[in-house]
């Protein structure tokens, strides 16, 4: 029965992939997204049952290559991430019904619909894969299908660059995964995800390889740079899937390894915690300065991935120190935050897609006043912002609260004073992240939706079609429900941890607000008065006097001035070699792209110059080729002489 649900979902997604390619009509595309919707219902049943009953389904093995079987498997960790896919998928599917129809040509529409299904299918099968072979195969399909989706609008130069960036990074990720899995295979002699009972030190190489491999895919600083490029290029529904689900698939893979490792080491946890804290902090700091709405959300994803890694780091540290309850709480926090982030980030990306579609720009400085022109979208956007800013009782709060609780109880680690100090530093940086994230989303929502429209496009914006409202409404409702019922959900999933009942808190908050409102209302005697804001003596207030995005973040930018360093670039061109006849020039002042300029470009240039040198070997001269043969023979002779 359980197996049938999983097979049904897979079958629905396969048909959803094939259908739009066979029939290039709107109906076929609608059917494809309908099938995604059906599969998400099936997956919900599947994952819910496994998670609730703990019953593990058994799938037969498919012979793939001699000696390499491909199996599906599901335990409770798998079920949690399948549930995540099932939760994000309905919103995206409904949204795509309309959104995909805005693509430029019939072929692109069909391709987008088909690839979306394929992408979801690949992600699902990565999570369901029972051994390394299937995992890597579907991982690669997932990467490639998402690459094609990022390159959807391939004609623009910027998108080509984004696609290339993503392609390189995703290949680096896959390479490290291969290395990690191969080293695991050499250790265990099997491709199964079994328990790894090895003494300390034996798993160092697999750990590092998998950490880098999954870290690149998840967008961990300093491997995060592909995210801010890929998201603006990708269609918004794909951004929602990539940020909501694909990053979590990487988290899933990493957790699968960590949970299997019988004896993790303390430095693993410390490394993960440091990387997580840095990602969280840098992600939100870069996001604050950003004015491209989708890039801002991409940086925010980096921040949230950082938070999830903080949870994972805490889990490892507590487990090594033998504090099982705290370890469980941290793990629950990480998983729950991953689930929550999937919901509100997909919600935000879908809303951003609607806004970009209505206004035709991604620059938030051009938005404003959308609460009047696009009220429903603005309301959904507000729910997303409240959730991600971790305001109670929305789900973002619930997830982060678990992590804070775990952090507060880290004093139990008194045996190791250095570790305690480290935890306090990590906690404070985590708290700073939370505060900055709140500021970030106040800015994003305020600048986008409130005040007067800052541009003609924003003034003329129209509310989007129904599916593009119902789509994001699904995660929006889920955001609130999972927040309010977080305690119940956690205990249903089998995590009975000490956790405040947010339902009670929510009711209490609602009651207090209502009482306050009524009290003030009853007390006040002045009737409502509508008048113009005082304009500091200006004759009329125009949008140019409004708070701008850059203005809002200026104080924070001042504080973190050392991080936002600028770089002045000038590239003059001359007519002559002596540089005296000026021909043309390019000058810009921009933010220093630290990671790109110091971490990504130098090795890329080194590889480039190396390749050029290698290419010189092939120079078309017969003499050189004979020389190579001669040298090869000599080397062979010497090598044989040495070896014999």
């Amino acid at each position: 029965m359980l197996e049938a649900l999983a097979y049904g979902a897979v079958f629905a997604l396969v048909s959803g992939t094939v259908l739009p390619l066979l029939y290039r009509s709107k109906n076929a595309r609608q059917a494809s997204f309908g099938l995604s919707l059906i599969s998400s219902v099936l997956l919900l049943g599947f994952a819910g049952t496994v998670l609730y009953t703990g019953k593990e389904p058994s799938f037969p093995a498919f012979g793939f290559l001699p000696g390499l079987d491909f199996t599906l498997a599901a335990d409770r960790l798998t079920a949690g991430f399948v549930l995540l896919i099932a939760a994000v998928l309905p919103g995206v599917s409904i949204y795509s019904l309309e959104y995909t129809e805005h693509a430029k040509s019939e072929a692109r529409k069909a391709l987008q619909a088909a690839l979306t299904s394929l992408f979801v299918l690949a992600m699902l099968l990565v999570v369901l894969a029972g051994n390394m072979v299937g995992f890597l195969i579907f991982w690669e399909i997932m990467s490639l299908s998402s690459l094609l989706l990022v390159l959807h609008d391939y004609s623009s130069e910027e998108n080509k660059k984004a696609g290339f960036f993503y392609f390189v990074m995703t290949n680096i990720s896959t390479t490290f995964l291969f290395l990690g899995f191969i080293s695991l295979y050499r250790l265990t002699g099997s491709a199964e995800f079994g328990p790894l009972e090895y003494p300390a030190g034996a798993l160092t190489l697999p750990f590092l390889c998998l950490f880098i491999g999954f870290g690149v895919k998840a967008g961990l600083v300093p491997f995060h740079k592909w995210l801010p490029y890929a998201h603006p290029a990708a269609p918004s529904n794909i951004s929602a899937l990539m940020s909501g689900v694909m990053l979590k698939v990487a988290i899933y893979g990493f957790l699968r390894f960590l949970l299997a490792a019988a004896s993790p080491e303390l430095w693993w946890g410390v490394l993960i915690l440091i990387a997580g804290s840095l990602s969280a902090l840098f992600g939100v700091i870069y996001a604050l300065k950003e004015s491209d709405i989708k890039r801002l959300l991409a940086y925010s994803s980096i921040e949230n991935i950082g938070i999830i890694f903080i949870g994972i780091g805490l889990y490892v540290i507590f487990r090594v120190e033998g504090l099982e309850t705290l370890a469980l709480m941290s793990l629950a926090g990480a998983c729950f935050h991953a689930f929550n982030h999937a919901l509100f980030k997909s919600l935000l990306f879908l809303c951003a897609g609607s806004v970009v579609h209505a206004t035709g720009t991604r620059n938030i400085e051009a938005f404003g006043g959308l609460v009047k022109t696009m009220p429903a979208t603005s309301a959904l956007f507000l729910i997303g912002s409240v959730s991600i800013a971790a305001l109670p009782p929305a789900n973002g709060f619930a997830g982060e609260l678990l992590l804070y609780q775990a952090f507060f109880q880290a004093s139990a680690l008194s045996a190791n004073p250095l570790l305690t100090v480290f935890m306090v530093i990590a906690l404070s940086s985590f708290a700073l992240t939370g505060a900055l994230a709140a500021a970030l989303f106040v800015k994003l929502f305020g600048i986008t939706c409130l005040a007067l429209p800052r541009s003609e496009e924003s003034r003329l914006a129209e509310e989007v079609e129904k599916p593009m409202l119902f789509g994001p409404a699904v995660p929006a409702v889920l955001c609130i429900l999972t927040g309010i019922f977080s305690k119940q959900i956690l205990s249903l999933a089998g995590w009975d941890i000490e956790f405040p009942d947010l339902l009670l808190l929510g009711l209490l908050l609602a009651f207090i607000y209502a009482a306050l409102f009524l009290a003030v209302r009853a007390k006040t005697e002045i009737p409502d008065r509508i008048s113009e804001t005082w304009g500091c003596g200006f004759p009329a207030l125009t949008p140019s006097t409004e708070y701008s995005s850059a203005g809002f973040s200026e104080p924070l930018v001042m504080i973190f001035k050392s991080i936002y360093r600028t770089r002045i670039v000038h590239r003059p061109e001359y007519f002559d070699g002596q540089e005296s006849l000026f021909k043309n020039g390019h000058v810009e002042i921009r933010l220093l792209r630290f990671f790109e300029e110091y971490l990504y470009i130098p090795p890329a240039l080194a590889i480039d110059s190396l390749s050029k040198r290698v290419a010189k070997l092939q120079n078309g001269k017969l003499d050189s080729y004979v020389l190579y043969a001669f040298l090869a023979v000599l080397t062979l002779i010497i090598a044989t002489g040495v070896l014999v």
Binding site: K621, D623, F630, I638
Partner: protein
Amino acid sequence: MIEPLFLEGVIKILFVFVLISAALIISTRSLASVLTTYTVQSFLLAAVSFLLYLMEGKSELLLLAGLTLASKVLLIPHFIKRIEEKIKISRDLNFTYLEPTTSLLLSIGLILLSYAFLSRVFEAFALSKLFFFGAVIGLSLTLMGMLVMFSRRKVITKALGYLSMENGVLMFGIFVTELPFILEILIIIDLIILVLLTSILAVGLDSSIEEYRKKIRRLQVWNGGEAL
């Protein structure tokens, strides 16, 4: 019957001449001289083969001597001489990568390398001194022929380098591996075809491979890494 020890002594003297001929092919600038040197080298090989026949009495060696005499001393040099007359170039003055002096020094290194290599490889086999030297000379000759191929410019010299290299293989074969006779014949046929092709390329297109490459490049779509 001639004394085997005497024969061995003669063969060893011939070895020295073979090496000298290889050195001359590397450094001589006059094409006619290179050809003469090659002819002499081939003749020496035939002589070695013949003397070895006298020592061992294997009929294949006699056949090989005859074949070498016919093809490498008479037929191939005759072809090449005709080419040289046609292209009206009498000297090859240009060298790539290595100047003659360096090449000669390198050749000494190659001989030493062959010696060191083969003495390690043949440690296990109880090879007589003469045969061991034959193998060393053969390998050195092969390597030196290859050296000629990439360090000299003209097609004719390159071809002669290749032929000299093949002489090295033949020598190595005589002393160590004893190739089946049919293979020897095939190799010689190959050589004759090579010389024929060379004549077509050298006379029909140009005398220098550089020129030829330019012509080829004009026709091909993709030009190698040089344009980068």
